[in-house]
Amino acid sequence: MKAVCWMGTSDVQTLTVDDPRILNPHDAILKITRTAICGSDLHLYDGFIPTMESGDILGHEFMGVVEEVGKEVTNLQRGDRVVVPFTIACGNCLFCKKKIWSACDNTNPNAHLMEAAYGYSGSGLFGYSHMMGGYAGGQAQYVRVPFANVGPLKIESDLPDEKVLFLSDIFPTGYMAAENSRIQEGDTVAVWGCGPVGIFAIASAFMLGAARVIAIDRLPERLEMARSFGAITVDYSEEDVDVLTAIKDLTGGMGPDSCIDAVGLEAHSTELQGFYDKVKTAVMLETDRPSVLRQAIQAVRKGGTLSIPGVYGGLLDKVPFGAAFGKGITMKMGQTNMHNYMKPLLERVEKGQIDPSSIISHRITLDQVPEMYKVWRDKSDHVTKIVIDPWAERAA
């Protein structure tokens, strides 16, 4: 089959590899019908996540049709149409029973690597480094889905793939980000980053009762998208705009009740601290560039909540912890507990309350993926979300 392989930092190639096969009794093999590139993939592309290896198959946002199931998979059949969550969960461990699915104890074959780095290991993820399980990903024509009895969500309506594909990651991720920000009716919420995660966080914040959402980014097409979902936008790159002042101006000096960092470890920064982080990460004294995190801690109101869906991987420098403590804020974060949200969010899509496909800007083939990783990284060509048809021969 054709698959997108990580071959080194900034080097992604579409190659022919073996087809996947059933390896465990709860596995299923999927013929992928649609897959996407995520903001998280950029952290791999840019070399921020350790334990990637040449030849690893990328991709964790995908859906398809069941080809074959292992002998313990009783809920799925060949021909079923499913969306697959990017976190792999066993359904039986203490964490799965507590519905903290992304902390599953039994799905990371390389748990010892993550244990060494984080103390304990989280669940395995598709296409996201050996530390996170080393599972082959879904930017490919076929994929093996472990614990297929627990994760995949059957799509029984005739909704097109594009409307349900994002239930695999970014829609639930945006939703959990809003839930984690503990919104109460009438709250004001500030969201950093108007990428796919930020956009779904904005939408979900409104769904959960926010009265006002302030969205921060610099890319005009993304700010426009944020406005189309109902947010007030702030362009942090505009001359004379200071984000903290803007946020105070828009909240009567009070600060937002909740802040959401939907940017993560590769935050872009025009200020001196951006240069500082670049130097420090280059010499490995710091692994992440937390400029948005710093800003969000500063911006949130006293006793407010900071929700962090943006990914951080390692060591952060100069995080204003004193401000966090001094204001008595709450922070919630982590990989999305996908399995809690897929079904309820599917219902919203089925009822037509939200059209997730509205964020798609590019529809491409597998062969176009390497060049599109560059576009995605550089945010060029007005890109907002890239969806791949792994069977198309020519660009749509």
Binding site: P25, E53, G55, C93, N106, H112, G134
Partner: protein
């Protein structure tokens, strides 16, 4: 001391001793340290199964190859004895063998064993205790071994330190007990690994075959 606080509606009795020397008189004790060529490893896992189910699975030694790394075969040779065969690398013809004897067998609670002759000098115990709050069973393994020549060859070949192997085996045991399988990535497709990828295989545990789990599938 006990009377300093009377309001503790869900507190459970503090064990006076327990879990392979982890607690004594209500106080934590660290694991034994390596000394005189003897190495120790103590590891534990919380498993959502009853003490008796886990005891049964552990005690069924002929099933050990399903969840213990590199164990090719185990044969029960008597009520308390068994014969163990362990692969020492990629070559199926190279193996080490030993006999093992159960020293103490308390159904649902504890098993202690030691090797009696052969290529491996090891002893150990496993303890099954109900976890606080009725959340399953805390399984604690304490194992000691002397590094034989073959065991260190095995480490060089597989890149897995024998202490880590004990930790991984308990992890596999938990996965098998909770889910009926052991998570694996060996056998999945990938692109060309290149030189650095090959060299790092052992770091990622790709050189030690993941045990079969409950249901062996044809490859």
């Amino acid at each position: 001391m006990e009377r300093a606080l009377t309001e503790k509606p869900h507190a459970e009795t503090v064990p006076q001793s327990g879990a392979a020397g982890t607690i004594l008189n209500g106080h934590y004790l660290p694991p034994p340290v390596d000394k005189d060529g003897k190495q120790w490893v103590r590891t534990s896992a919380l498993i959502v199964k009853s003490t008796s189910e886990l005891y049964e699975l552990w005690r069924d030694v002929e099933k050990a190859p399903l969840w213990q790394e590199q164990i090719a075969e185990v044969l029960v040779t008597g009520p308390k004895t068994s014969h163990w065969v362990m692969l020492t690398g990629d070559d199926p013809d190279k193996s080490i063998e030993w006999d093992s004897e159960v020293l103490n067998d308390e159904p649902g609670k504890r098993v202690a064993w030691r090797s009696i002759g052969g290529d491996s000098d090891n002893a150990g115990e496993v303890i099954f205790e109900a976890a606080p709050g009725g959340r399953g069973t805390i399984v604690t393994v304490l194992q000691e071994f002397r590094m034989s020549k073959l065991a260190s060859t095995w480490e060089t070949l597989t890149g897995r330190n024998p202490k880590q192997a004990v930790i991984e085996n308990l992890r596999h045991f938990k996965a098998l007990a909770e889910t009926g399988e052991i998570p694996r990535i060996q056998g999945q497709p990938h692109g060309p690994r290149g030189t650095s990828g090959n060299a790092k295989k052992s770091i990622y545990g790709e050189k030690v075959a993941t045990p079969a789990g409950e249901h062996q599938l044809a490859s």
